[in-house]
Amino acid sequence: MSHQTQFTALVDWLQGAIGRQERFTLSYNAEASDFIRFNHGKVRQAGHVQQASVYFKLIEDARHADLNLTLSGDEAVDRQRLGEALHQLRETLTLLPVDPYLLLNDEAWQSSNVLDVPLPDSAHVVEQIAQLSEGLDLVGIYAAGPIYRGFASSNGARGWHQANSFNFDWSLFHQNGQAVKANYAGHEWNDEVFSKRFALAREQLAFLGQPSHTLAPGQYRAYLAPAALEEVLGMLCWGGFSAQSLADKTSPLQRLYDGQASLNPLVSLDEQVSGSLSPAFSSEGYPRSDLSLVVAGAAKDRLIDSRSAAEYDLTANGAGWGESPSALNMHGGSLALDDVLKELGTGLYISNLWYLNFSDRAAGRITGMTRFATFWVEDGKIEAPVSTMRFDDSIFSLLGGALEQLTTERELILSASTYSQRQTASNLLPGALLSRLTLTL
């Protein structure tokens, strides 16, 4: 029985099991994934994970409770588990007061998206990786398989999202400890495309063999490649656009949304769900809208889930857990990729940043490390790799006064995150040329 058929059968059963005054929402998450880890160009650990669960919300008389339930895949067993969950939630509701911030979507919306291009056998992929990495110190992970997301409500809303995908996230290490990071991800594995990506990483590795350049703390011109800019923007996703964080005054973009500060007019950020890899509906049952979060450096939309909508008298727009973006799209600029080094002149070419956090959240000040393939550039030419450095700077400088140009070309970065389950988030980002980046350690 297919996942969609299993889910539909459970929804139908639940529809018949609830009482007249009861309502429910049920969201579905499942995957069947190969996870193959590599170290030193060999398979370090290999496995397969098959999992499925439903997130079940029961509502009665403005009281509600949620239960996340692992399914077995066996119809009878899962029906029994769902029945027990229904019983547990009914008992729980009797202990709860009315929730003033419960806001349900009554619309019977319908959504379906199925991308089932076959993936290659993992053994084939491993064979190709092994051939290409012969003699190289490769470390990373290949994750692949189908992902399923579903939603149903007692009001008749139905959503289904299913996609086969792969994500090979890897690094090549030089014997001096320097490394280049690379990624190949998508829905259709292509041996030739992968070989080209691998060759590019291998070329970059050659640059890392030179003696590293040591920098003193201070301010430097810098180019942030899309993967590095993604880390900076990732910090803004920690409540930056969240309606609740903005209302609670804990957003790192509080000053932007309060009109006390602005970003560079080059900065425009969208939550572009349509056409992305994320489901077109949230787990609480709202179709997700495309949103303009920042337009020409000024705040516009915020991400609003149903609870925030009820509490702050706003309109829910399908924001998911934590009201964080999952398909961030930054508009490109006018800098050609081929001109990056020339325009940088003398400064840092930063491929990746790592382990960012706030130095002063209210002021939008962040800190983090360079990691993987950071180069010192002089007069438009790569001179040497740079040893790991810490930066500490303000968002309102990095994406404000210090932002000189954005690249025209943008890179689609698919999330390699696998906490609990494989994620579907993605970002479409340019690179950013900065007149100054403050290094501190």
Binding site: S33, D34, F35, R37, F38, N39, H40, K42, V43, R44, Q45, A46, G47, H48, V49, Q50, Q51, S53, K57, A65, D66, L67, N68, L69, T70, S72, G73, R81, T92, L95, L96, D99, L102, V126, A130, V139, G140, I141, D169, S171, F173, K181, D248, K249, T250, Q254, Q260, W354, Y355, S359, D360, A362, A363, T367, R371, T388, R390, T418, R422, L441
Partner: protein, 480 residues
């Protein structure tokens, strides 16, 4: 407790396999997360998660398959899936595990007070509501939240060599936070949350200290909003245990994980500035530094009898009198490296394979009271409660931030300062450890959120520590 044990053993016994060795690790976790925010109870978040991981070893190559289908048919299918993968990938395997000794123990382990009933959901909400209502009315207090997490975990490990290890644990995570805002800056003060958790029953809620604490936490948030920024420059740094937790975790725990040192994590969590050749000789810290892997403090988050590969856990010194002795490496890493380690092969759940993790990583108490620690500082600062952490992939250059700062001048605590941050380099920082608090300053803490591994895993780790003083550290404040 262990209701499924007999049935699982029957199913395991009926499994058909041609593997030289295979194991099954079954995990069932039920959890409940409750929260009251600004006096409004949020809907309870409940969870029931259950599944099993089958691992096989064929001609020295291991592979696993994790499944949500724990029927006889489902377990057999997972076992066969693992067998196929082990055979397919054998030509490319990094490790030959033919000589790797497997677990054979048979034992049970239970959290303390597991038989004591935990307060009902209604009683929990009443407690949270009462504490939330204790936050004073002040228009500058813009948000507050009181929460209580409860996780019950049963794990059963069986293998073809006869091991049978059953562990039942209950984890409790209380928390309280209050945010103050003055129209320009916001400051949050908290208790518990990501900095606290213990095994046990209702006594953990009291042990965290949230009962009756809301008014004081709110007052401290208001003090912070009115406080000046932390001054910039070198000072002696007194860290209380709720910041020592993070300090130990990031700059001792992660660098000593043997799988990082062996390179497994270089693509994600990172590597380590420590080399295998450093063990036995590296002066990691001052002579006051004594660090232990200690699974024997019953209430601590990562106390257990056996790790997830079935190795019996016992207390071991990792750093003694400042000298590095032993890594955080489980049986597999020990086999790979030829080094002695600890029982720290751990998985976040049934759907993730065990890897080297911190468990309980503690600093042993010294001989000074808090008054003596403060009294010994001429020009310094006290910092409490972690709120920001950043460290390089080799776990060397770090910058950490706290919620609460208080200057120390001439042996006395002075004014409160906000946005207290400090930065240093691990390899030097611990050598500047100049005083260690005694047992009266020692607290058993931990965090539910340590991330690592590919595929990614979040796991509970325990850290217990006295307050400690570090000489001559670069401290600084924020921009607000």
């Amino acid at each position: 407790m262990f209701d499924f044990s007999a049935q699982l053993k029957q199913r395991f016994a009926a499994l058909q396999s041609s593997a030289q060795f295979f194991s099954l690790r079954y995990v069932k976790q039920t959890s409940q997360h409750l929260s009251v925010r600004k006096n409004v109870p949020e809907p309870p978040q409940l969870s029931i998660d259950e599944g099993a991981m089958l691992t096989v070893r064929i001609n020295g190559v291991e592979a696993y398959a994790a499944t949500n289908d724990i029927s006889q048919r489902g377990l057999q299918a997972a076992l066969e899936q693992a067998e196929i993968q082990a055979r397919q990938l054998a030509p490319h395997s990094l490790l030959d595990l033919r000589e790797h000794v497997v677990a054979t123990s048979r034992a049970d382990y239970l959290s303390p007070n597991l038989s004591n009933a935990f307060p009902s959901l209604g009683e929990c909400y009443a407690l949270l509501g009462s504490e939330s209502a204790s936050v004073p009315r002040d228009e500058r207090l813009v948000n507050w939240q009181v929460s209580l997490g409860l996780e019950n975990v049963e794990q059963i490990y069986l293998n073809s060599a006869g091991a049978e290890i059953r562990q039942a644990q209950r984890f409790v995570f209380p928390g309280l936070s209050v945010t103050a805002y003055d129209g320009q800056d916001s400051q949050t003060r908290s208790l518990g949350r990501e900095n606290f958790g213990q095994q046990g029953s209702a006594e953990v809620i009291a042990s965290c200290g949230i009962i009756g604490a809301a008014a004081n936490v709110a007052d401290q948030a208001l003090q912070l909003i009115m406080a000046p920024n932390t001054p910039t420059g070198p000072r002696d740094l007194l860290l209380t245990p709720d910041q020592m937790t993070l300090q130990i975790h990031e700059s001792i725990g992660h660098p000593l994980e043997l799988d990082r040192i062996l390179g497994d994590e270089r693509n994600y969590a990172g590597t380590s500035f420590v080399k295998t050749s450093d063990f036995g000789s590296l002066q990691y810290g001052s002579k006051l530094l004594n660090v232990t892997f200690d699974p024997e403090i019953p209430e601590q988050l990562a106390s257990y009898g056996y790790d997830d590969d079935g190795t019996q856990a016992s207390k071991q010194f990792l750093i003694r009198d400042g000298v590095l002795e032993r890594p955080l490496g489980g049986a597999l890493s020990q086999y790979r490296s030829g080094m002695e380690g600890v029982a720290n092969s751990r998985a976040s759940s049934w759907n993730r394979a065990p890897i080297d993790r911190m468990a309980n990583l503690n600093i042993e108490p010294g001989d000074q009271t808090m008054q003596q620690l403060i009294g010994g500082i001429e020009h310094g600062i006290l910092m409490s409660t972690n709120r920001s952490w950043s460290i390089d992939d080799a776990r060397n250059k770090f910058q950490f931030g706290c919620e609460w700062g208080q200057l120390i001048e001439n042996g006395e605590l002075k004014g409160v300062v906000k946005n207290p941050n400090y930065r240093a380099i691990s390899a030097q920082f611990w050598r500047n450890l100049s005083a260690v608090g005694d047992a009266s300053t020692f607290k058993v803490l931990g965090t539910p959120n340590c991330g690592k591994g590919e595929p990614n895993q979040v796991i509970r780790v325990g850290h217990a520590s006295p307050a400690c003083v570090f000489a001559n550290v670069d401290v600084f404040g924020g921009d607000a």
